[in-house]
C-alpha cells in the first residue's frame, strides 16, 4: 500500500470510511489501486462528485453528472469500466451506492 493511503481507513470493499480524509493525492493513489491513471476528464467527474457531496452530503447520480458536466454517459463508462457509480464514488472518497436492501 502506498504511503498516501497508509493512514486512510477503508471498508471491506475499498471505500473510504471518512470522506473528509480525502484529497487529490489520495484520489490518485486509489485510482492506481484500481488500475486507472487520472486524466483531466476524470477530474471533471471527481470534482463534481466532491462538490455535490459537500453541498448535499450525498454522491451524485449518473444523471446528475451527465446533466451538469460535459461528460456523457458513454464516456463515463469508458472512464470507469465496470460501473461509473461505484468507481467514481470510490475514487472521490465517497460511500458505495446502494439500494435499501
Amino acid at each position: 500500500m502506498s504511503d498516501v493511503l497508509s493512514s486512510i481507513k477503508f471498508d471491506s470493499e475499498g471505500y473510504m470510511e471518512d470522506a473528509s480524509a480525502w484529497n487529490e493525492k489520495v484520489a490518485e493513489a486509489i485510482a492506481i489501486r484500481e488500475g486507472l491513471k487520472l486524466t483531466d476528464r476524470y477530474w471533471v467527474v471527481i470534482k463534481y462528485c466532491r462538490d455535490t457531496f459537500t453541498k448535499t452530503g450525498e454522491a451524485p447520480t449518473l444523471r446528475n453528472i451527465t446533466k451538469n458536466t460535459d461528460v456523457q454517459t458513454k464516456e463515463l463508462y469508458e472512464l470507469f469500466p465496470g460501473g461509473p457509480g461505484k468507481l467514481a464514488a470510490k475514487i472521490s472518497g465517497l460511500k458505495k451506492p446502494t439500494g435499501c436492501i
Partner: protein, 411 residues
C-alpha cells in the same frame, strides 16, 4: 383568513390534511387541497393486479372521500408554483391561489420517454410497467395467454418508487408461473443499475439465496441505454445486450412536471428538502412531503407515513414562530413479497440498514424481520384495509414514528 395550501392528495397529502385540520384554528385558517386525479390510488396494490391477486377496482377510491369536511378540494392540475410571491396558478380556469403556507406533495411518476426506444413498438405489447393501473392491467392480460420465454425485469435508474417492488415482482412471477405450469419454460432475469439485487450486507446474507433458490439470473451494474424493440433487446451503456420476450420495466422516476415548470426542483424534478425537518431548503413557508422530496429515504408510503407527524409538528411550530422540534430519521419499513404466500419485512432508517430479528407489532406481531414468513404475507395483504380505514383517515397507528432497535439483531 390565512391560507394553508396543500398540493397533492395522494398518500402524503391526504394523511397530512386529515391531521392538520384537527390542529389549525378554523376561524383563522382556510385549508385548500389541490389534486389532479379524481381517484386516490392505493399504489402498493398495483403489484398484485397483473398476478390476479387484486382486481383493478381494489386499488382506488374517490380522492374527495378522504378529504375532511371544512377543507376546500379543487380537482385540477397545478400549472405553476411561484414561491417568491406565494402564489400557485392552476390549469383549471387559470385560477390563482395565494398561500401563507404551502405543502408540496405532488409525488413522482414513471417517465418511459426518458429511455431511448422504450416507448417504441413494444410498449404495452411485450413491454409493460406495473407502476400505473393501466400498465398493471395490460401486463395481467399479457400473462393470461403467455406461453413462456425470457422474462426480463429491468430497473432503469435509481431512485425509484417502492425500491423493492421490481424484486417482489420477479419473486412473485416465479410462483405465479409455477402455479400456471409454465415455470420450466420461462427464464427469469433481473437487471439493475445497482451492484446487485441486494446491496446491504445483512439483507444480502439473509435473502441473497432466494435468487438462486428461485433460479433468477441477475444482470448487475446494468444501466440501460436503449431498448431495441424490433429485436427485443435491451442495451446497456457498457455494451451489454440482454434479449427478452417479455420486458417488465421500471422506467426512470421523476417528480411532477409542475416542479420543472416552476424551476424549483433538481435534475429529476424532486424538490430540495431538509432531510430532518422536511422544510424546503429555499423557502421557509414551504414544506415538502412524500415522493416529491429529494431526501435520501425510500420513495414509499411508509416514509410518507413516518415523516408526516414530524412535518406537522414542525409546521405548527413554525407558524407560531417557535423552533422546529421534529427531526425525521429516515424511517421506512415494508413487506417484501417473496411468493408462495410468504413475505419478508424490513425496517430501517437513514443510518441503520435492514437487520434480522423481530418487529414488535401489537396484536398481530411480533413479525419476523428480514426472513420470510407466512404472517408477513398476510400483513401485507391486510395492510390495504389499514391504509384506507386508518392511515388515510389521519388516525393514529400504534407504530412508533422513529425507528426502534427493539427486537433487531446486530450479529
Amino acid at each position: 383568513m390565512k391560507q394553508f395550501l396543500i398540493l397533492g392528495a395522494g398518500t402524503a397529502g391526504t394523511m397530512l390534511v386529515n391531521r392538520l385540520v384537527k390542529k389549525l384554528d378554523k376561524k383563522e385558517w382556510k385549508i385548500t387541497v389541490v389534486e389532479k386525479e379524481e381517484n386516490h390510488y392505493y399504489q402498493p396494490g398495483f403489484l398484485f393486479v397483473p398476478l390476479g391477486i387484486y382486481k383493478p377496482t381494489d386499488t382506488y377510491k374517490s380522492s374527495r372521500k378522504y378529504i375532511p369536511s371544512g377543507v376546500e378540494f379543487i380537482n385540477s392540475e397545478v400549472d405553476n408554483i411561484d414561491p417568491e410571491t406565494n402564489k400557485v396558478t392552476l390549469i383549471k380556469d387559470k385560477e390563482v391561489l395565494h398561500y401563507d403556507y404551502l405543502v408540496i406533495a405532488t409525488g413522482s411518476t414513471i417517465r418511459p420517454a426518458e429511455t431511448e426506444g422504450l416507448l417504441d413498438g413494444g410498449w404495452r405489447r411485450n413491454i409493460f410497467d406495473f407502476y400505473t393501473l393501466e400498465g398493471s392491467i395490460a401486463l395481467g392480460k399479457f400473462l393470461e395467454t403467455w406461453k413462456g420465454g425470457r422474462l426480463v425485469v429491468n430497473v432503469a435508474e435509481m431512485p425509484i418508487k417502492c425500491p423493492v417492488a421490481p424484486l417482489e415482482f420477479i419473486f412473485m412471477a416465479d410462483w405465479f408461473l409455477t402455479k400456471k405450469g409454465i415455470r420450466e419454460k420461462v427464464e427469469l432475469v433481473y437487471s439493475t443499475p445497482l451492484p446487485g439485487a441486494f446491496t446491504k450486507p445483512k439483507a444480502s446474507a439473509v435473502l441473497g439465496n432466494l435468487l438462486e433458490k428461485k433460479n433468477i439470473k441477475v444482470e448487475a451494474d446494468f444501466t440501460i441505454s436503449s431498448v431495441e424493440s424490433s429485436k427485443n433487446i435491451i442495451h446497456s451503456y457498457d455494451g451489454r445486450e440482454v434479449p427478452y420476450d417479455l420486458l417488465v420495466s421500471t422506467p426512470v422516476n421523476m417528480g411532477a412536471p409542475v416542479i420543472e415548470r416552476s424551476g424549483i426542483g433538481d435534475d429529476l424534478n424532486f424538490v430540495p428538502t431538509d432531510k430532518f425537518t422536511l422544510q424546503s431548503k429555499n423557502w421557509q413557508n414551504i414544506f415538502v412531503l412524500g415522493d416529491a422530496t429529494n431526501i435520501p429515504a425510500s420513495k414509499a408510503g411508509a416514509v410518507a407515513h413516518f415523516s408526516v407527524g414530524v412535518a406537522l409538528e414542525n409546521i405548527l411550530a413554525h407558524i407560531k414562530g417557535k423552533e422546529m422540534p421534529g427531526k425525521f430519521d429516515g424511517h421506512a419499513n415494508c413487506f417484501i413479497e417473496t411468493g408462495y404466500h410468504k413475505a419478508s419485512l424490513i425496517d430501517f432508517n437513514y443510518d441503520v440498514e435492514p437487520l434480522p430479528g423481530t418487529y414488535p407489532l401489537p396484536v398481530l406481531g411480533p413479525m419476523r424481520l428480514l426472513g420470510e414468513s407466512v404472517l408477513n404475507h398476510w400483513g401485507k395483504l391486510g395492510f390495504r384495509y389499514m391504509y384506507w380505514e386508518i392511515l388515510m383517515r389521519g388516525w393514529g397507528v400504534p407504530l412508533p414514528e422513529k425507528m426502534s432497535m427493539v427486537g433487531k439483531k446486530l450479529d
